[in-house]
């Protein structure tokens, strides 16, 4: 699609000189004549490889190393073996924050997946208007900070329009972000608002791969939209849905921004998600070793989820033909 839209490359102005060499001063290597591009590849790959090694590979290894040390940034890291992990296992705040994180992820992913699926199906079956698709994506353009602040205002206990409507309908005002029961679901829903359009578009991409004649044939047989959804859409979308789920679950485990601007972990640690606890341990108490150990725990959890979901996806492949 994209290839067809650009001009035919053969007509591009290329230098006509035979065997023009673009890298000055390079010896013609025998490597080259046999189809190898070793030197050129080394030049082309160098910046990305440096970035990869310095800011991804090395930090990963170092993060694991730091989790076995006591480290406060000021003095050199001191090897303490499994002390950080031992502390973590006996730290009730850690377990609480893990619980809060899981609660957040379950609500966030549950609501987001169902809503995104509904939006995607509406976009496919009702109207394929690109304008509507664009509108649905707009919250994604906001930062988590902006989204958090806007909803903090809308849901404000006294002046927020959300609570004004609730009060107008004759119900009690809800202290959405100031109440221990409401805070986590509220934050989860704020992030659903920001991300659901993006997820819906990913699912829409999957829906577009389903041939339209399947729906037309079903329609001739008198199938209802509801029946078509369960008999055609759901089975054929399953692999795409699984991949999107893996991505969004991993993304939502990393919640931090919204918590930081709305509740700051409160009330009474009710929204103290693991990320926030890690951040506080590192930058509030300068316990980089302990914070690293918790990061490793998070990494292990995420890897396990990825592997598990990947397996489930594969298992689902058979009945899709």
């Amino acid at each position: 699609m994209t290839i067809a839209s650009s001009s035919p490359p053969s007509r591009l102005p290329l230098s006509g000189t035979e065997g023009a060499r673009t890298e000055p001063g390079e010896d013609p290597s025998p490597d080259r004549s046999h189809g190898g591009d070793g030197r050129l590849a080394a030049v082309f790959i160098a910046p990305a490889l440096i970035g990869f090694v310095v800011f991804l590979l090395w930090p990963t290894l170092r993060g694991i190393y730091l989790s076995f040390t006591r480290f406060n940034l000021l003095t050199p890291a001191e090897w303490v073996g499994f002390a950080n992990y031992d502390r973590m296992i006996h730290d009730p705040v850690f377990w609480d924050s893990l619980k809060v994180t899981v609660e957040y992820v379950v609500i966030n992913i549950g609501v987001q997946t169902v809503s995104a699926l509904a939006i995607a199906v509406l976009l496919q079956r009702l109207t394929q208007s690109p304008v509507l698709r664009g509108i649905v994506l707009t919250p994604y353009l906001m930062s988590n900070v902006v989204a958090g602040l806007v909803w903090l205002w809308i849901l404000d206990n006294q002046l927020g329009i959300g609570n004004e409507i609730i009060a107008g309908l004759g119900f009690d005002r809800i202290p959405f972000l100031a109440d221990e029961t409401w805070a986590v679901p509220t934050i989860a829903l704020i992030n659903v608002w920001r991300h659901v359009g993006y997820t819906a578009l990913l699912l829409f991409a999957g829906l577009m791969a389903i041939p339209n004649d399947m729906y037309e044939a079903a329609k001739v047989d008198g199938a209802s939209e509801w029946r078509m959804f369960w008999r055609i859409t759901m089975p054929l979308l399953r692999p795409v849905l699984a991949v999107v789920l893996i991505m969004t679950v991993i993304g939502s485990f990393q919640v931090f921004d919204t918590v930081a601007v709305t509740t700051g972990g409160g009330p009474a640690n009710a929204t103290n998600v693991l990320q926030f606890y890690i951040y506080q341990s590192a930058f509030g108490r300068f316990q980089f070793g302990y914070a690293s150990a918790m990061s490793v725990a998070l990494l292990v959890v995420l890897s396990a989820i990825t592997v598990l979901q990947y397996r489930l996806t594969r298992a689902g492949h058979t009945d899709l033909g």
Binding site: D37, T138, W153, E164
Partner: protein, 309 residues
């Protein structure tokens, strides 16, 4: 769109579906309307609040229009109002160097997007089109990098940036994502792999070297995916909060997202400066809305048809 459907003879179902207004379709359209409303209403509410005065907001909380329409919220957000006036309006007394933060955000996002896409495209070309020893093994390593969640590398990267003496420096904010992301390399490699080999061979026959082929043939051909990737990278970088929060300590390197959160923290706990805060929020979000406005159609269709992450 309508013209297309009427001229084609193959669409038998569409016209009948259009006319039939079954209860199900009414319900579906109602749901669609509700979705659009929930999506867009907060944007209107930002604008309405930003144009109101704080005292007006307290008196008429549910008024759908701006209360006592005024621009002082924007003036405060932009730091154009005197400290005395700002405090009288319920704003923060501290100076808000808005333009500095805006510039910082622009510098970081431009640096990250420009370099990351360029270097990733070069690497993607090397992985897709050049033959060299160990290529597949190095690529597998990059792919494994996709699995490492960003959160995991943040703390060690902070330590590294500190050792490099780049704390509170814009370069320190940009560096970790400036060279590549595994995803960008992966995404562009997919594109280069799909370019027919004849294209390259034709250029080779014309006497072009591989470097020239990359810059003059393949990169221009990839302009559509590159542009989409660039806009999405720009948005992600602009909206990033966690990493800049870790690295920047003063106005010199503070980006808009961090400044916004601080602006919120600075306002008095008893009466938050909602008007000023929403004005600042709107100004912070505006550049991305404009950027999206320019490229919306292309981005939406790229995501819709390729499922780009």
């Amino acid at each position: 769109m309508a013209a297309v459907t009427t001229t084609t003879t193959t669409t038998r179902i569409r016209p009948t579906r259009r006319r039939a207004l079954s209860p199900g379709r009414v319900l579906a359209w109602t749901a669609m309307g509700a979705i659009v409303l929930v999506t867009l209403l907060p944007f209107y509410w930002i604008l309405r609040t930003a144009l109101s005065t704080n005292s007006g907001l307290a008196a008429h909380a549910s008024d759908p229009l701006p209360v006592d329409p005024t621009g002082t919220g924007f003036a405060r957000a932009l730091g154009l109002e005197s400290t005395k006036d700002a405090i009288a309006q319920g704003g923060a007394g501290g100076g808000l160097k808005f333009w500095r933060y805006l510039l910082n955000s622009v510098i970081v996002s431009t640096l990250v997007t420009g370099c990351q896409i360029f270097f990733s495209a070069m690497a993607a070309y090397a992985f897709a089109r050049l033959r060299w020893r160990g290529r597949d093994r190095v690529f597998a390593l990059f792919l494994a990098g996709l699995m490492v969640p960003t959160i995991f590398t943040l703390l060690p990267n902070f330590v590294l940036i500190k050792e490099l003496g780049l704390i509170d420096n814009l370069l320190g904010i940009a560096l970790p994502t400036m060279f590549m992301t595994p995803f960008a390399v992966f995404f562009l490699r997919q594109f280069f792999m799909n370019v027919p080999r004849e294209v390259e061979e034709a250029a080779l026959l014309d006497g072009a070297g591989k470097v020239r082929i990359f810059f003059r043939v393949l990169l221009p051909m990839a302009s559509a995916p590159v542009l989409t990737l660039a806009v999405l990278t720009y948005i992600t970088s602009w909206n990033d909060y966690f990493w800049p929060l870790m690295v920047s300590y003063s106005d010199s390197s503070r980006v808009l997202t961090v400044a916004l959160a601080i602006f919120r923290a600075q306002t008095p706990q008893s009466g938050v400066d909602w008007s000023g805060l929403m004005a600042a929020t709107l100004i912070a979000a505006l550049p991305m809305l404009v950027l999206f406005g320019f490229f919306a159609r292309r981005i939406v269709s790229t995501i819709s048809f390729t499922g780009i992450k």
